[in-house]
Amino acid sequence: MDGLSAGIGFKPVHFMPAMQARHEGLWFEVHPENYLADGGPRPRMLAALAAVHPVSLHGVSMSLAGPAPPEPAHLQRLAALVRGLRPALVSEHLAWSRIGTRYEPDLLPFVRNTAALQRVARHVMAMQDALGRPIAVENPSHYLPLPGHTWEEVDFLQELVRRTGCALLVDVNNVHLGAHNLGFDAADWLARVPADAVAEIHLAGHSIDPLLGDALWIDSHDAPVADGAWALYQGLLDRIGPRPTLIEWDSQLPGFERLMQERQRAQERLARHAVAA
């Protein structure tokens, strides 16, 4: 695992305890968009963190599944950050968020057909070429049963790996949540993920929709990881072995110690598999 075991999403409010933490295999993930300032405390804070801990850059805005190639200015800024920071991992989402000059701050769905596969593959290649390294692509959360898919999501991702050499970031909670919302089998989805391609795993808590209740789960990142997601994670580790695993907790943010407790739950599972391996 190149020294990475369980990590947590970094928040500026946790800067001091994060800098002081010395847990084996600990790493931090950030959304690079929040640090792409021309100067000032944002990039300096990230550089300081990266000097002490491995850091992963997890983008939310490259719009890989968008109609147009990655925005050149954003790609150049990210490439400069990657060159300076040398992050342990770089990842993006299988989603879109840009149309023309407009940026929609969300991870929007698309119809998985062969034209989309070709387009996403071009965009992944463009990103990898600009960064000079492979990226990991994450399966997004799903809420809408869009008609017209000609590719299953796992097959789409597998083919994307084959065509571009990218890796996969498997968000177990997104599979857990998407399976509930759209009615597919989460365990089957995870069982078909190509083990060699998985570079990172995400775990997060979810909430239920305030209007629709349990019929719709929301990928809110505001709670502990659900038992069902832990069970799926365990099953995935049993099959593919340990992988760097991130606890995402972005709203209703608890203190650093509570985040580290949640991280410890993943760490213990990873350690058991590392010993077995």
Partner: protein
Amino acid sequence: MSPHRDFHPRFMRAIDRWRDGEPPEPCAIGGLAVPAFAVYANTGLRACTAALEAAYPSVVSWLGELAFEPLAAQFARSHPPVDSRLFLYGEGFAHHLRAMEPQSEWPCLANLARIDRCRTEAHAACDAPVLASAELAHLSADALGARVLALAPATRWYHSAASPVLDLWTMARQGDMAPQSIRWRGQAVLITRPDDEVLMHELPLAGIALLEACARERPLAEAAAAAQAADPDIDLQALFAQLFSQCAFRSLAPNPNPTTLNPQRLP
């Protein structure tokens, strides 16, 4: 033509229609007018309003979160983000507030927003070493007057000839709304970021003329004359001393050392 060829613009139009209170075009989401579509319509809008709330704290403080949220949502619908760096989002918010002033109970809001925006820009500006007055000590008066002083990348300023904009902003940030307690006058504010922290200073109104001349890359003598034209009684020596001590200018010397991160002043 594939029925999915223009999926992206149709999906985005459906989001906009949903936010405007209209049902999405059925074809936009594959004929499925499912309530789950609201997740997409709401998530992006919430991200925009949260970004505005973070970027315009004095306006939030003045109005309260409940009143700010619909104002921010209205702006986000009419001015969706272009840049994915949402900490820079909201450049036109002050203008948006200014346009609403005739109907507003609080005509000072646009001024507060302008100052908040200056702080955001200063916060994210390039790093650069500041100019110390000692760097100019060897110059003769004539040479100094012919010199063009570059403003530090983070230096911003704002003024109102009619309103105490800095006092109102400070009051808003402190959450102590008593505008009747402040002395009503024109006021100028200088915003700098010598280290990690954005600093605010009251500036003589004539200082604005000097800074604007420097921004136009005019020689120092011309900038000083502009300040004197704005206020014949201006104490130029004191004004320059203030600008130097508050790190408004960029150093003439190359090879800056990056400043040290101060964790107490992080965003």
